[in-house]
Amino acid sequence: MAEKKETQVRVEDQVRALIAQIESIRAEISALDAAINALRQTVATLRTLKRLGQGKNVLIPVGSIAQVEMKIENLDRIVVSVGQNISAELSYDEAIKYIEDEIERILALRLVLEQTIADLYTQIEQLIQGKQEQKEENK
């Protein structure tokens, strides 16, 4: 009897652990979604700036509260962050491609995480099913 109770508790612990993993992965997916949105906004902004043309004035944020007016000198070169605190100058087209490739990379990672969640749900179902089958056997 005590053994059956122990098995039941183990299954419950396993299910709880799997649910915790799922929640953690969901939080990661939310972070990836935010990153994707930010990158898409960047591409949209660069395209708009290119369309507005050189010589136009723009307001550049300084901190969270102030803005400074500046003139767009050159949109042929864009400085892009490439990771590890390094930024590099790219041509406009190279920069757009780099950012779009980054979006694709994150989307691929997002897909893997979603698949992981699906697999974890399958594991939970199997655990619950196993527990129910055991209960039936013990009747």
Binding site: D13, A17, R77, V79, S81, V82, G83, Q84, N85, I86, S87, A88, E89, L90
Partner: protein, 87 residues
């Protein structure tokens, strides 16, 4: 109870994975810089300020980061080994 005991070790394993991912990214950035057209400007992000740099300085900066990460990796692997676990 076993679940609680394994948590510090799980934290070490997670830290190891994060450092390995950072080392991988570092290699990719080095490769990117190697393939960058000569004459293109390179900047190092120092937080609020980005300082203009060059290829050699940027690689040196990344090499130093790599050394620190590898040292941290060795330390964590030693901790795991002494705890009797493999990453």
């Amino acid at each position: 109870m076993e679940l609680n005991k394994s948590n510090p070790q799980e934290a070490i394993v997670l830290q190891l994975q994060l450092i390995k991912a950072e080392l991988e990214q570092l290699e990719k950035v080095k490769e990117f810089l190697k393939n960058l057209e000569p004459g293109r400007k390179i900047y190092i992000n120092l937080g609020e300020v980005m300082v203009e740099s060059n290829y050699l300085e940027a690689i040196q900066y990344l090499d130093e980061k790599e050394k620190e990460l590898k040292a941290a990796l060795l330390e964590l692997e030693a901790k795991l080994t002494s705890a009797g676990l493999k990453a």
